[in-house]
């Protein structure tokens, strides 16, 4: 009995954490790739592409707030994932890890 308890308590890296780290990479890549969302909007603000009072209103009331919202939310994605990563145990019992692997494989 004591032997099996010892065997059951072997701790291994948490597969959820490993998988979530991959999600963190994807979230960060998305944020990097989205970096250009502000460039065209800045062009509408400072360039000669579209000028006049309607352009100004549209930039100030619609485009700029939208770009800010998108930028802020995209930058926060990685922090959201990192927060969750910190909540997860680094190690889990081997049988738990096996069950989690199965769950990850069938999701």
């Amino acid at each position: 009995m004591g032997t099996s308890e010892t065997e059951a308590s072997i701790m291994v890296p948490n597969p959820l954490k490993t998988a979530l780290e991959r999600v963190l990479t994807r979230a960060s890549t998305f944020n990097d790739e989205l970096g250009d969302v502000e460039s065209p909007i800045t062009e509408l603000d400072t360039g000669a592409t579209w000028t006049g009072s309607a352009a100004r209103r549209y930039h100030d009331d619609v485009l700029k707030p939208l770009a800010d919202d998108i930028r802020t939310a995209a930058e926060s994605l990685a922090a959201d994932v990192e927060h969750r990563l910190r909540e997860l145990d680094d190690l889990v019992p081997e049988h738990v890890a096996i069950a989690l692997q199965v769950e990850l494989s069938i999701r």
Partner: protein, 458 residues
């Protein structure tokens, strides 16, 4: 926005704005591809999704912004084309205008792109819901779309298509002049032998321009002849042209004539328009108390070769939906109750209307088969209208009678078909397949059918 810009005018750099929008579309595309997968993962791993939700909302708003910016771009592009047409454009692609290009009626243009493929009734409901300003806007900025929509009133389609035909005439004339001023290799530098391509394009342009010339001439209001309306026009491929003499929306009697093999947008249309005019003259002579409108409908790709294409019903079948849709539209936009409607087909045009009637509601009171090689059914009862209102004629010397019944079906002038025959003999005993409108007897009988004097048909 930087300060110091004058507020009295606005400007758009058409090329620059296109670049900006395409960049924003790339961002929207990235969000569209990535966010759903991230959401699934966030939910699975228990990650807070509040920021993802903000991004999803931002994505939706961004697509709306992109749509609105395209709208501005497209209007600016139209303005630029107008500048160029009047020699006002500079070396850049910048247009200047007061206020905002989307003032007031911008939603019209969003809706206009959703009308294609809708029923004439739905299109008509949309059109009737627009203000006069919105309609004028749609006609000015989207004449080709308004002009081709079944369900838009004929007068509005005419207004739009008159713009289209002049634009097309200018475009094709300029291209032809360019071709004629250059050498084949200038226009087809990648072709080892550019000459055939060069000659084909020149021939195509000359032929379509010949057709446009005929129509433009007939659209010109002249004393003593009824007003013509341009209901549809396209120079693509063999071309498309629908011209009415008189406004069918206001007429008591409406007849649509569909020509047959060899018809296309060329100067040959003069013959079909002349036939249309002559039928109207005859109808007006017998029934001056009622109003009649005659339509020449070349809304399909007619076979061009008697031996290679005309023996097949495939082009007729392709035209079926268009024929029924157009006839339904005539019912939909008609203003004075229910008009008395007739559909006439000459030669392969009769195959078109027979097969269209076989497949669904044809929305007419009479069907008339003139010199038919076969209409795809064996009996009048298969045509979906009152069998007493199906008429057929074939002149004695018309060689169409030699068409075997296994090609396009039995001819409607055959004994077992059940159509009402009428005479179309010509004073010239050798008159053939294309001479029906030269026969006074044929014109009189056609007029009787069109105005509803069915008992007089003989």
């Amino acid at each position: 926005m930087s300060s110091g810009r004058a507020d009295s005018y606005s400007s758009i750099d058409v090329t620059g704005l296109r670049g900006v929008i395409e960049d924003l579309e790339q961002s929207a595309g990235l969000m569209d591809r990535t966010l759903p997968g991230l959401r699934r993962d966030f939910e699975f791993f228990g990650v807070d999704t509040a920021n993802l939700t903000k991004l999803s909302n931002g994505y939706r708003e961004l697509t709306t912004v992109v749509e609105e910016l395209w709208e501005r771009h497209n209007r600016a592009e139209v303005l630029l084309a107008d500048y160029e047409g009047r020699g006002l454009a500079g070396a850049d692609s910048i247009v200047r205008f007061p206020g905002d290009l989307l003032d007031g009626d911008h939603h019209v243009t969003h809706e206009i792109h959703h009308q294609d493929g809708r029923t004439p009734g739905d299109v008509h409901t949309w059109w009737e819901g627009l203000t006069d300003t919105e309609r004028a806007y749609a006609i000015s900025y989207y004449p080709d779309t308004v002009g081709s929509l079944n369900g838009v009133p004929i007068a509005a389609r005419d207004q739009a298509n008159r713009r289209v035909i002049m634009q097309e005439y200018t475009r094709m004339s300029e291209r032809l002049a360019e071709l004629e001023a250059g050498a084949p290799i200038d226009f087809y530098p990648d072709e080892p032998n550019p000459l055939p391509f060069y000659l084909d394009e020149g021939e195509h342009l000359k032929e379509r321009l010949g057709g446009l010339d005929v129509i433009i001439e007939r659209l010109d209001d002249q004393p003593g002849r009824p007003r013509a309306y341009l209901i549809d026009i396209s120079t693509d491929g063999l071309g498309r042209a629908v011209v009415s003499i008189g406004n069918p929306d206001e007429a008591d009697n409406v007849a649509t004539y569909i020509p047959g093999t060899g018809s296309r947008l060329s100067d040959g249309l003069a013959t079909d328009i002349r036939r249309t005019d002559r039928m109207l003259e005859a109808a007006d002579r017998f029934a001056p108390e009622s109003t009649t409108s005659l339509i020449m409908w070349l809304g399909y790709d007619a076979p061009q070769d008697v031996f290679a294409e005309a023996p097949s019903p495939s082009l007729a079948d392709k035209a079926s939906d268009n024929v029924r849709n157009f006839q339904e539209a005539l019912r939909t936009t008609h203003l004075k109750g229910r008009s008395h409607n007739t559909l006439l087909g000459h030669s392969y045009g009769s195959t078109v209307i027979g097969r269209a009637a076989r497949e669904g509601d044809i929305h007419v009171d009479n069907l008339v088969f003139i010199a038919s090689p076969g209409v795809g059914v064996g009996h009048v009862s298969d045509l979906g209208i009152d069998p007493d209102r199906v008429f057929a004629t074939r002149a004695k010397w018309d060689l169409i009678k030699a068409t075997p019944r296994n090609i396009l079906g039995p001819q409607p002038t055959g004994g077992g078909f059940g159509a009402t025959h009428f005479r179309s003999d010509n004073s010239n005993p050798l008159a053939g397949h294309s001479d029906y409108w030269e026969s006074q007897l044929a014109r009189r009988n056609l007029a009787y059918i069109i105005i509803g004097w069915h008992d007089e048909v003989n």
